[in-house]
Symmetry: C2
Subunit: 281 residues, 2 copies
């Protein structure tokens, strides 16, 4: 048995499956977990691969430690989406963080991950974490100067995650952030046409709202093209100039992917990626 994801109608990536552990339909989407031969357990939502136990560390480290190393004194964090729990797992490693509000629209994702993927969901019971099962777009609409960091760890820009890629939502995030606030989100890949449009659109919208808007990249082997992009937006902090490398390194966090040299390198995009972001503006 194989799980297959089509990157385009003409490109597909397939993973051999040992066993289907769960496959259910929630109010919002289909959620499945499979035991794979090579990647450990994999989470699939609406037919798209969300994570594998083998390489989820890359995504979760890069969406978390990049903003934290720019401002290691972050206290109040809002996480939107992230139902698998991997982002929270990384965040709670920072003693300085006092509050993590995690707003996931689909409680079933959390239920499934708590049961089948404890590798990511095992730290959701940390006392600093407040789990809210509601639409992140609605949650953030009435917040003002509450958070130091907002991480939008969403599915793709269609289906239940669509609103998390809208200008109105980004404007609400801007207002919800404190003066030194940072917004980080996953914006897709730079290689296949549909991903490119999504990344361009997200970047264009964020750039109109935030004075600092940059894009960084990571090697994520099981995502389309293996080249994934994240948006880094802020009210002033620059992810390269303001990197607190020494301060972050003194925290002594062990990471498998992230380091502060790679942090700088992750903002050095290939020319063709710079070009497509510029064309999208």
């Amino acid at each position: 048995m194989w799980f297959t994801e089509h990157f385009t109608p003409n490109v597909k990536f397939s993973i051999k499956i040992k066993e289907e552990l769960v496959n259910l339909k929630s109010e919002y989407q289909t959620i499945a977990v499979y035991e794979s031969e090579d990647f450990g357990r994999i989470l699939v939502i609406d037919g798209f691969l969300m994570l594998t136990e083998k390489d989820e560390f890359i995504y979760h480290e890069m969406i978390t430690h990049v903003p934290m190393a720019v401002n290691p004194r972050i206290k109040d964090v809002l996480v939107i989406g992230a139902g698998d729990g991997g982002t929270v797992r990384e965040l709670i490693r920072y003693p300085s963080i006092e509050r993590i509000d995690m707003v996931e629209i689909d409680e079933k994702v959390v239920e499934v991950c708590r049961r089948y993927i404890p590798q990511t969901a095992g730290k959701l019971d940390d006392p600093r974490v407040r789990l809210l099962f509601m639409d992140g777009v609605k949650f953030v609409a009435d917040k003002e100067s509450e958070y130091d960091l907002i991480i939008v760890d969403s599915t793709d820009p269609f289906g239940p995650g669509e609103g998390l890629f809208s200008s109105a939502f980004y404007a609400d995030c801007h207002r919800a952030l404190k003066g030194q606030g940072i917004l980080v989100n996953q914006i897709g890949g730079p290689y296949y046409a549909s991903d490119i449009q999504a990344a361009q659109s997200a970047y264009r919208k964020i750039k109109r709202i935030f004075p600092v808007a940059r894009v960084y990249q990571a090697h994520i082997p099981t995502y389309a093209s293996g080249h994934w992009l994240f948006g880094f937006a802020s009210k002033g902090l620059d992810p390269v100039r303001d990197l607190r490398a020494d301060e972050w390194n003194r925290l002594g966090l062990q990471t498998q992917y992230y380091n502060t040299s790679l942090h700088l390198g992750s903002f050095a995009l290939p020319n063709y990626v710079e070009q497509l972001l510029k064309e999208g503006e």
Copy 2:
């Protein structure tokens, strides 16, 4: 019709094919070119994807411009393998280069690429290029202080390319290089087990022979995991400290992937890659 490459027995990547343009068996290997739906023409050797017209620029820019930007005054270059011509296409853009010896074991690869993939093979008639159809291992065995740069643009470390991953060959390259010489080679990916072993083995051998031995990376969407590694070895020049960014930028070369910021970033490896290279030593 689909072309499928197995990254492992349990992971496969498939590309939809419009038409098979050629499929032949040379003295050394099977060589096929297909017209694909999304990637233009693709070159397949012994069942492994060697290049696609859509993303070959990444591999060829990164194997060429990284060493050239460390020493933009390189004059004498030896290229081993590289039968598709893409590496030579990038090299001949440097007016300073006086001689390119390209040693490819399999004349049929060049014939096929000249006919079916002019995008890469179209510059092999440059007067500075001397094409030699012989075993690169034998060619380099009696050379001494002849080259400023050796690029080993090989297939994988089995089959006809196997000797290009041996300690004896690397020692011959060391001797064939001048005092400021640089050796660059592709050493595979860091993610799937068989690739990891190949990369570890290549790095270990090179490190024992060259005083400077570093590894850099690129995002290559159609190679296994999309994360590809290159070895940079030299008799003294350091790829980061000795980068001649201003000098290279003054050349005014237009590139689609490479730039001198990315050059630095490409040497900032993820922790897990640093770790596996260290374990292999």
